[in-house]
């Protein structure tokens, strides 16, 4: 089946991101495809490219990136949630006259409409709230 996940918890604050990642890793083994992960509310902080967790803790943004590389899973970040929280890719940084950026591919800033679209397109949408 085609799955999508909605992640709404900040990494390193709540377990939501960890739970979502574990669930994501288990999907291929049961023959499913994880189409996309949509990050909303504080979940958008998972896309922070500068995250520097201690070496003996999981690196969550890297773990998401790996998921993308291994399975082609889209990493979609709600743009409205992200901008106010200081998560800007190069394009948005330029558009807002800010020097530097805090989000980079494979994370993509996108509209909330993508979440609605995922709900329609995928067989299952599982939410991981904080």
């Amino acid at each position: 089946m085609r799955y999508a996940l909605l992640v709404q918890g900040a990494p390193y604050s709540q377990q939501a991101s960890h739970s979502a990642l574990r669930f994501a890793m288990a999907l291929p083994e049961r023959g499913h495809r994880l189409d996309s992960v949509f990050f909303y509310h504080d979940g958008v902080y998972n896309a922070a490219r500068l995250a520097a967790p201690p070496q003996d803790e999981p690196h969550l943004p890297d773990a998401w990136r790996e998921l993308h590389e291994r399975h082609g899973t889209e990493l979609l970040v709600c743009i409205a949630s992200a901008l106010r929280r200081g998560l800007l890719d190069e394009r948005e940084a330029a558009r807002h006259g800010k020097e530097g950026h805090s989000v980079e591919p494979p994370f993509e800033l996108t509209g909330l409409g993508q979440l609605i679209e995922l709900g329609r397109r995928c067989d299952r949408l599982v939410t991981f709230p904080p």
């Binding site: 909605l6 909303y40 509310h41 409205a80 949630s81 509209g111 909330l112 409409g113 979440l115 609605i116 679209e117 709900g119 329609r120 949408l125 939410t127 709230p129």
Partner: protein
């Protein structure tokens, strides 16, 4: 009235009060976007979420926008199927007269059917 409508495609359950967090606004945003994409959307104000419907809200002390203006726009988005958790209203001592919108009180016994009827349910 909501009860006679066919069930919508998306049920958004709003469980958070205005101002204390961004959950209510983010849940309403999801509902509005879904409606703008042509989905038929049902809202259920549950638990502390019933506070969203209270008459006489204002902006926050630093000028933070509340959500009541958004609620008044629901009709423009054709979101007309509105339920409010009857038990929560009672728990807060509120009646329909306290509400800024006409939402249909939903008894606990009727809640499972509403969830079952919608292909998609999001909780905020």
């Amino acid at each position: 009235m909501a009860q006679s409508d066919p069930p919508g495609e998306l049920l958004v359950i709003l469980r958070h009060a205005p101002h204390g967090s961004s959950w209510l606004r983010e849940g309403l945003d999801a509902a509005l976007v879904a409606a703008a994409f042509g989905q038929s959307v049902t809202l259920l104000f549950q638990g502390e979420g019933v506070m969203a419907l209270l008459e006489g809200q204002d902006s926050g002390a630093l000028g933070q926008k509340g959500t009541s203006a958004t609620l008044e726009m629901l009709g423009m988005y054709d979101i007309e199927s509105l339920y409010v958790d009857a038990a929560a209203l009672a728990r807060f001592g509120l009646t329909r007269d306290d509400l800024l919108l006409a939402a249909e009180p939903l008894e606990a016994a009727d809640t499972p059917a509403i969830l079952a009827a919608h292909p998609q349910v999001l909780v905020f």
